[in-house]
Amino acid sequence: MIPNPIEAPTPIEILLVEDSPGDVRLTREALRDAKVQNHLHVALDGIEAMNFLGRDGTHAKAPRPDLILLDLNLPRMSGREVLEQIKQDSELMSIPVVILTTSAAEEDVIRSYRLHANCYITKPVDLDQFIKVVKSIDNFWLAIVKLPRTS
């Protein structure tokens, strides 16, 4: 029995930056029964992510995300570079960025926080654990935390 999802004034816009279609699908499945209504947008690499955030070209009508889930290992432009660009941009820097990546390397964790990631999560390999983690993201970042939403 799923409790009624908490109604936000408008659904929360989430940008997932992830190059593995398998992981995208898993995240989508795990967010399906989320506590808070949300729209999941996907960018398959860093350049597409920056185009989405900059509302360039085909993304001219893209909504500004309220939360970004960012994988570090992306082709062409790494997640680290995307993080750096977001946190240096005066328009984008206030969007919370949750690093959601396979790497557990301490170097990656430290570097991400130094670049002002809001938090760092290592993707569990086990499916049940992965779903738990995504639901925790939903519970914490969408239900408990106040996000800096602009109209």
Partner: protein, 206 residues
């Protein structure tokens, strides 16, 4: 094992479960295949050191011919035209030299445009006792800002949908070149495509 049974699942049950199941099975089959490629490429990378043989003088043309022979399928499929100049004697581990040529020529074929691939291999003298091999293609080319990044492990410039690959091939080439006391780099062509250069020693210093 994983790959075989997920494929079997796919073959037997595709279209007979719901569409989510079809999607999940497709992800599993693709994932298993990629894992196999990754393991195979990582093993090859480790073996550069652990299974490396002493360098002996060998005709590089023979290693090149063997690499081209191994790429028969890809060459036929792409209608690639592969030519080479006279190639010199070098100090090398033969198996690794074949791997090096096979990776570079294989990439030249893989990262092609709609045009028929034309790949030319030549060699010229570099520093004293050094030969520089050049593998020139007419493919999609590489933006110079990525020319160092592509040699790093797992760094790719394309998604899996665009081109398959593990991101280990060029790292392997670099490791082989360096084990031979050489180096590898890439330059864009004036026209389409790129040229990879590999410097290898001509003989062991006496």
């Amino acid at each position: 094992m994983v790959a075989s049974y997920t494929q079997l699942l796919g073959q037997r049950y595709k279209g007979r479960l719901d569409s989510d199941a079809d999607d999940f099975i497709a992800f599993a089959v693709d994932g298993a295949r990629r894992m196999q490629m990754l393991i195979s490429d990582l093993l090859a990378y480790c073996r550069v050191e652990t299974a490396g043989k002493a360098l002996v003088e060998i005709p590089s043309r023979e290693a090149f011919d063997e690499a081209v022979h191994n790429l028969e399928g890809a060459i036929a499929e792409s209608q690639a035209q592969i030519t080479c100049d006279a190639l010199p004697l070098v100090m090398a581990d033969r198996i690794q030299l074949v791997q090096l040529f096979q990776n570079l020529v294989g990439n030249a074929i893989k990262y092609r445009t709609a045009e028929r691939p034309h790949i030319h291999v030549s060699a010229r003298r570099g520093r004293p006792n050094e030969w520089i091999f050049s593998i020139r293609d007419n493919g999609i080319g590489i933006d110079p800002k990525y020319s160092e990044r592509i040699f790093l492990m797992f760094q790719r410039l394309h998604s899996r949908d665009e081109f398959s690959g593990t991101g280990i091939g060029l790292t392997l080439c670099k490791k082989i070149a360096e084990r031979h006391g050489g180096r590898i780099w890439v330059e864009p062509n004036e026209g389409p495509g790129s040229t990879f250069h590999v410097a290898l020693p001509e003989r062991v210093k006496q």
